[in-house]
Amino acid sequence: MGPLDIAHFLAGFVVLLSFSLLYQDRLPPLINTFAAQSLVLALSVAWQAQTQHAPHLLITAGIELGFKTVLIPLVLYWTIRNLKIHRTVEIVVGVGPTIIAGIALVGLSAGLMLRAAAGVGGLAHQDMAFALSVVLLGMLMMVTRRNAVSQVIGFMSIENGLVLAATGARGMPFVVETCVAFSVLVALIVIGIFLFRIRERFDSVDLALIDSFRGERS
């Protein structure tokens, strides 16, 4: 396999794990799948660092590995144990239709990016197609899931897609990677506080419970 093939193999693997996130029906495997996706992403970023001769990307890979593959899954496990969150994932749309919608989204992003970015140079545009797929699948997950933890995982898998995009764009300044890493950290703090606040008042973090208190319906 040439260097391009390996980059594509890893990026494709990330997309595949996004699909896998879509059909998990319990929280622990969902968290594990997310950790696996982050791990493959870390490998992919490390590979890009190698082929682009951009050693600073190794830092991004390190953040992916340490932060998203290890730390965040541990914190999430800790959260569901301490908050006694229901371990099943409540879904809004069934798994079958969700997967079909996911396939359509991947087809869309491949069709769009392969055509649109064709002028930009060999390696980059296929990577962008994979990255956009991951972003769109993450969004799909956010809209088809009901409880907060799985929505948060959906959000973080969107961030994974963005890291894939940022590292696929050749020579993109390090600014963006730091921003993403930083924002994940901040986002987690916010989420943590939120989960706690919600816990203060409600018995579960199922957002449907909160939905019944819509301001409009008083």
Binding site: L112, M128, I158, A166, R170, G171, M172, P173, I210, E216
Partner: protein, 482 residues
């Protein structure tokens, strides 16, 4: 290095220093004073930017006529909001609506928000602008949830989820813009710097430019509350504390529009792409009409004016979408006037909530007879936000309409329908709130109305006479926007 840098750096450093100091101070009362003083100093520093408005880039910062205008407005409204917030939040604590421990970092967050918005406006790097807007969003999420009620938590969570998706789209767009610029400008930082990007506008790959702009528009459009992706906005405005509603409507929405404008400048000149303007006109018009319809049958006064903000963001997107010197001028004027009017209006609404102890329309009525000063100030604010003479929004809406008629009479018709719809709803609101027999509690209004009156005076001044210097300034920016 130019001495101009100093005011530009000051409007960033002062809020940061303020935030640091405020994070250390546990007392609410002292914090409120420091917050006010820090915001006041930031405003003075922003006036320093006004004195010399030469365009130029200084490392990470970048100054031109477009962003200076917004920095001054942001700092002014930030200062008046700090003044209003001091009395309002104090009152909410006294009445037990807010608990002190939950407000521990309120003022520090206030300053971080102010600093992040100024950073988004002044930075010369696309990625930094994105990060600054993300920081501003996260800070406002925390501020919206400060009441800790079911509704406030739901609003904050909804805001967080939707704006995260928006932010993700915007980052993807930012990365695509880098990829578009990279073949022209080479690898590295130049392909993310506004000045360099703008210098080569028109030479980018048309197809990828279109895709990039779609992501930018949807991403930052979420933050600006444009129609299909606005759902967070009414909840966040209604459930957050009133000073935060004023900052959201008056400032943060403007910053999001500013981001869209910067990117539009890059791609407007490219041939063979889906014109950025067309997309903005569509989203804008949809927002105006949708918000016009949603303004009816609201039960909550803050939610009502949140929909009015969606309408005005729609008008602004519509104006810049049409483009050309006249429409751009109108759009800029509308942004400035809407900022001042809407934040002033929220201050007035804050006073009403103080007096009535509720933000439901059912509990508010006959203000002009029970509280003449507050009632008539509110009437003036609503007349101003409706775009009626003699206030500044009349001038800008009139110019938008003129530009729309010139561009395409059908578009003008659509806009007119939206504007009339909201006009009707605003009159209905006036009728319920300001006139008739007094309804609800009759508390005394102790706070100062000065911030509202200052905003109204400026808006009235602009409605009657716009100084020549400001006209030529805005005309220059309008030409820049293409």
């Amino acid at each position: 290095m130019n001495w101009l840098v100093y005011p530009a750096a000051l409007v960033l450093l002062l809020p940061m220093a303020g935030a640091f100091l405020l994070a250390l101070i546990p007392s609410y009362r002292v914090g409120a004073w420091i917050n006010m003083i820090a915001a006041g100093c930031t405003f003075l520093a922003s006036l320093g930017l006004l004195t010399v408005r030469t365009a130029g880039s200084h490392g990470l910062l970048f100054v031109d006529d477009l962003n200076v205008a917004f920095v001054v407005i942001t700092s002014l409204v930030g200062f008046t909001t700090a003044v209003f917030s001091k009395g309002y939040i104090g009152h909410q604590i006294e009445t037990g609506h807010l608990q002190r421990p939950h407000l521990r970092f309120y003022h520090a967050l206030f300053q971080i928000l102010l600093g992040a918005m100024n950073l988004a406006l002044l930075t010369s790097i696309t990625g930094v602008m994105w990060a600054a807007i993300e920081i501003a969003t996260l800070v406002t999420v925390l501020m919206v949830g400060v009441y800790r009620s079911h509704e406030a938590l739901e609003a904050a969570w909804k805001y967080f989820i939707l704006s995260s998706v928006g932010i993700a789209l915007a980052l993807f767009g930012t990365i695509l813009v880098y990829m578009v610029a990279q073949p022209v400008l080479g690898e590295g930082l130049p392909a993310m710097t506004w000045e360099k990007l703008a210098a080569h506008a028109g030479s980018y790959d048309p197809m990828l430019s279109s895709v990039a702009f779609v992501f930018i528009l949807l991403g930052y459009g979420t933050k600006a509350g444009l129609f299909p992706i606005h759902a967070w906005l009414p909840d966040a405005h209604a459930e957050g504390p009133t000073p935060v509603s004023a900052m959201l409507s008056g400032l943060l929405l403007n910053v999001a529009i500013y981001a869209i404008l910067r990117f539009k400048m890059l791609f407007a000149g490219s041939l063979g792409i889906i014109a950025p303007g067309t997309m903005m006109v569509t989203l804008g018009l949809a927002s105006v009409i949708f918000a016009g319809l949603m303004l009816y049958r609201r039960r909550d006064i803050k939610r009502f004016f949140a929909y009015s903000s969606i309408e005005h963001m729609g008008i602004i997107a519509f104006a810049f979408g049409i483009g050309g010197p006249l429409a751009n001028f109108a759009g800029l004027l509308h942004m400035a006037m809407h900022s001042l009017t809407k934040s002033g209006l929220f201050f007035a609404v804050g006073h009403i909530i103080r007096v009535k102890g509720s933000q439901k329309f059912d509990a508010i009525g006959g203000l002009t007879s029970s509280h003449p000063m507050l009632g008539w100030t509110f009437v003036a604010c609503v007349v101003a936000i409706a775009g009626l003479p003699p206030f500044g929004l009349f001038t800008s809406e009139f110019l938008v309409m003129t530009a729309a008629v010139n561009a395409n009479p059908l578009l003008a018709l659509g806009l007119a329908v939206g504007l009339l719809l909201s006009l009707g709803a605003l009159f209905q609101c006036l009728h319920r709130v300001a006139f008739g027999a007094p309804r609800g509690e009759l508390g005394r209004d102790e706070g100062t109305l000065l911030p509202v009156l200052v905003h109204l005076a400026i808006v009235l001044g602009f409605g009657i006479f716009i100084p020549g210097e400001i006209v030529s300034w805005f005309q220059h920016v309008a030409r820049m926007l293409g």
